[in-house]
Symmetry: C2
């Protein structure tokens, strides 16, 4: 198979309600587009959720790391490329490039996915799926950003808390992956977004949360514009962790 | 001008993170698409915000009413048509039809817009704009739903309150029109969405709110599945009002 066919490319425009007060696309919306591209790319190659669901399997996002030189500005066209970097027995690495209106690569993203059985909620063997044919799509396109890191939060003092509401919940009955990103972005004062921008954003999804769960957000500042965030539900169970790295504009 | 050229038609798909726990598109996302279509349609005809901004004018959404028989389901294609129904000196009425994957009209929407000067924040005379040529686009396509109504809320007991955060704020520095819709939808318990769906949703935008403003939500149940909602900022100033009509599934 040619390397070209292994990479999917999808076009977008930065819509007015998808940009923040600086006119730049928000990290939540970019995350949404990345996950949609993952879905398009997998579906076109026979590994999409609709196909998997017939066999009672689904993809679960485990980690996401996004690193950018700049974000698309309101009304600008941009595109996202995605490809599979590695397939292991229980995980697959899917990477992304974000390309601006002039065709310049302005950022990259890495994601890690598992497949689970909807019957048992246990992980499935990716190398056994469709006779292991997913490995035919592995592609050596470069993705020059660090892999998702380990995130450790020590703060015992909640930065904020909320109860999961209607708008947080997806078709699986879980708080959706993108809403966590939005809630985490809302931990930071607008002054920080005025003087700096997010250079790197990481999410590690640990457990699901549900309607009316109380989500508590803990935040450490670890220097150099870097914040580590942990989201816990109903007391102490970790739901997800995030690392947010700001740089001056 | 032919009636056909007066109507703009735009295609969409119900993305996974844009549907709720029932798998149906959320009202906030539909509102976002409607406002985008208004923008596309106006831009294509020389009345878009980018063109207006050159002369220091912009469109301001005053009212929105949406009424639906059903919402698109996850991954379904759908389309939105939009056209101008009336142009008055200070307001214009823009209508919409929502069309499902089979080409059937499943809902309609009405919106009312003013144009303001960015210098004075005062309304501009639409009939004077571009020599009044906006009236050439007036179209008599039917829109068989009621006009936006007057909404009056009597409750003195807040249903909830929040402070506007980073994710709420748009490029103009205001809480964005769509986030109000999401916050209002979150006033209702998930049980209500399990047994019923929103048949009609109205918004009346009264005043702008800003970062860190305290938004307080007041809600009246007025019978027959109908709720009136008022959002006030920093005490008693009304920001917007909404009417939400639920019907059994």
């Amino acid at each position: 198979m040619s390397e070209n066919n292994k990479i999917g490319t999808y076009g977008f425009v930065a819509e007015p309600f998808h940009v923040d007060f600086t006119g730049r696309l928000t990290m939540g919306v970019l995350g949404n587009h990345l996950l949609n591209c993952a879905g398009f790319h997998a579906t076109e190659r026979g590994f999409g959720i609709a196909t998997l669901n017939e066999d009672n399997y689904t993809w679960v996002l485990s980690r996401l790391a996004i690193e950018l030189d700049e974000m698309p500005y309101q009304y600008e066209d941009f595109s996202i490329q995605t490809w599979v970097e590695n397939v292991y027995r229980l995980f697959t690495d899917r990477n992304f490039a974000i390309i601006n209106k002039d065709g310049k690569k302005i950022g990259y993203a890495r994601s890690v996915w598992a497949m689970i059985s909807l019957n048992t909620r246990k992980p499935a063997d990716l190398l056994a799926l469709h006779g292991g044919s997913i490995v035919d799509y592995v592609c050596d396109e470069p993705c020059p950003i660090e892999k998702p890191s380990r995130i450790k939060v020590t703060s015992m003092e909640p930065a904020s808390s909320l109860n999961a509401r209607y708008s947080d919940i997806d078709i699986n009955g879980h708080v959706n992956s993108i809403r966590y990103i939005e809630h985490i972005l809302d931990l930071f004062p607008i002054e920080l977004y005025k003087e700096s921008r997010i250079r790197r954003f990481e999410m590690a999804y640990v457990a699901e949360s549900y309607y009316d769960d109380e989500l508590t957000f803990y935040k450490d500042y670890v220097g150099d514009g870097t914040y580590d965030v942990e989201v816990r539900k109903n007391g102490n169970e970790v739901v997800c962790r995030s690392k947010v790295i700001f740089v001056g504009k």
